[in-house]
């Protein structure tokens, strides 16, 4: 999975348009970064990248770039 595909998957989870996303967007300000989105993100990273994101590190993620780092993208 490359960065573009990752951003597309994350944008689907957050229910936002993937165009013009830079990665510096703040998750809290997007509005849909709730418990269901967090669980969907963990499941997506496991399904696509065979990687289990640490819940503790995920709680510290502030931006989409932080999510990409956790996913190893």
């Amino acid at each position: 999975m490359n960065r573009i595909e990752f951003i597309k998957q994350v944008s689907e989870i957050l229910e936002i348009d993937p165009e013009n996303l830079t990665g510096s967007e703040i998750l809290e300000e997007i509005g849909n970064w709730d418990s269901l989105s967090i669980i969907s993100f963990v499941a997506m990273v496991d399904a696509e990248l065979n990687r289990i994101v640490s819940p503790e590190k995920l709680r510290q993620a502030k931006t989409i770039d932080d999510l990409a780092n956790l996913a190893g993208i």
């Binding site: 669980i39 969907s40 963990v42 499941a43 289990i52 995920l58």
Partner: protein, 337 residues
């Protein structure tokens, strides 16, 4: 391979009876309280539309209802039962064990082996393994495994994260000694997960009312880490591929997780047992509920089954088994009036 993973002779699955309260709560009815969009999202993600909710029923009451019906349908006398094990985390009383209450309520003989096991999500498979151990070592002929919880009493009605998830059900499973059936089991525990699915109150540390807390992200991360490995361990010991399994029965926590785990182990839709829509997460009863639903749809002509069951969660605790057994004589669902 993680130990203990082991295989042994096993009883046959003689029958299952599922007892639930007639009272149900529709998840969409919580829209006024929690918001329409929120509840729509939760229903779509979890797959849970409604859940049986006890008004006054207890595990012993539902357990007695399920067991009496099961014994009647199987034409088994109470005197013929050698053991009754209850798996519950919501016993009628802190003491004595609910199994002792049921021994008395059902009129079982005094030589009946009866005790409780304090487990939830992993409880059915752990319970099956323990009962099988007793059956093989003591030569028992007929036993009962009673599993379930009244989880609703531990949940705050204003808790949006938990209230839409859990249903109150007790499942009675009848087991009978037989030649042929085999049980291959992988059991595990990791107590570092205790803080993430817990009631801090209601025990010796804080004797208040039990109140459930769950960190859903931690539960998911744990499940992704442990379940597929546990499934692979039993398949390897049985020298089987996933395609050879008839039913894949996961603990019914939520639909998204069940489908994800099914994909992870390579199971097909036809193999996957799903019963979460009308019951929710029913703790240790969820595997027998889903298994019963799957077996009712299985072809009449099929007599022998290879059942893969995996329960995982509170503890952390996990238990996976492949049970080679024959079609049960009885599968029933009953409701309290």
């Amino acid at each position: 391979m993680n130990l203990p993973t082991f295989t042994s002779r096993a009883p046959r699955l003689a029958g299952i009876c599922i007892a639930s309260p007639a009272n149900h709560e529709e998840n969409i009815s919580l829209a006024d309280q929690f918001g329409q969009q929120v509840m729509t999202d939760i229903i779509n993600s979890t797959g849970i539309q409604r859940r049986p909710i006890a008004k006054t029923e207890t595990v012993a009451e539902l357990g007695a209802m399920a067991t009496k019906k099961l014994l009647f349908s199987l034409n088994w006398s109470p005197e013929s039962i050698d053991a009754l094990i209850v798996v519950t985390q919501t016993p009628d009383y802190p003491l004595p064990s609910t199994a002792c209450l049921l021994q008395n309520a059902l009129g079982l003989k005094h030589s009946t082996i009866a005790f409780d096991i304090n487990l939830g999500c992993s409880g059915y498979v752990y319970g099956l393994s323990v009962v099988n151990g007793l059956m093989q070592s003591a030569g028992l002929k007929r036993t009962l495994l009673i599993c379930g919880d009244i989880t609703s009493r531990m949940i705050d009605l204003n808790d949006r994260s938990l209230r839409p998830l859990f249903g109150d059900v007790v499942a009675a499973t009848a087991l009978e000694a037989a030649d042929g059936p085999v049980l291959t089991t992988d059991l595990g525990s990791d107590g570092s997960g205790a803080p993430y699915l817990i009631s801090h109150s209601g025990g010796a540390r804080d004797p208040g009312v039990p109140r459930l807390f769950m960190d859903g992200v931690q539960v998911l991360a744990f499940s992704l880490k442990r379940v597929a490995t546990s499934v692979k361990a039993v398949l390897k010991l049985e020298n089987m591929n996933i395609e050879e399994v008839d039913a894949v029965v996961f603990h019914q926590a939520n639909a998204m997780m069940i489908k994800h785990l099914a994909r992870k182990i390579g199971a097909s839709d036809a193999q996957l047992a799903m019963a979460i829509k009308d019951f929710g997460n029913t703790s240790s009863a969820s595997i027998p509920v889903a298994l019963s639903s799957w077996l009712l749809l299985a072809k009449d002509s099929k007599h022998e089954f290879q059942l893969l069951m995996s329960g995982f969660g509170v503890g952390w605790s996990w238990a996976t088994a492949i049970w080679k057994t024959t079609r049960p004589d009885v599968i029933e669902f009953v409701q309290s009036p």
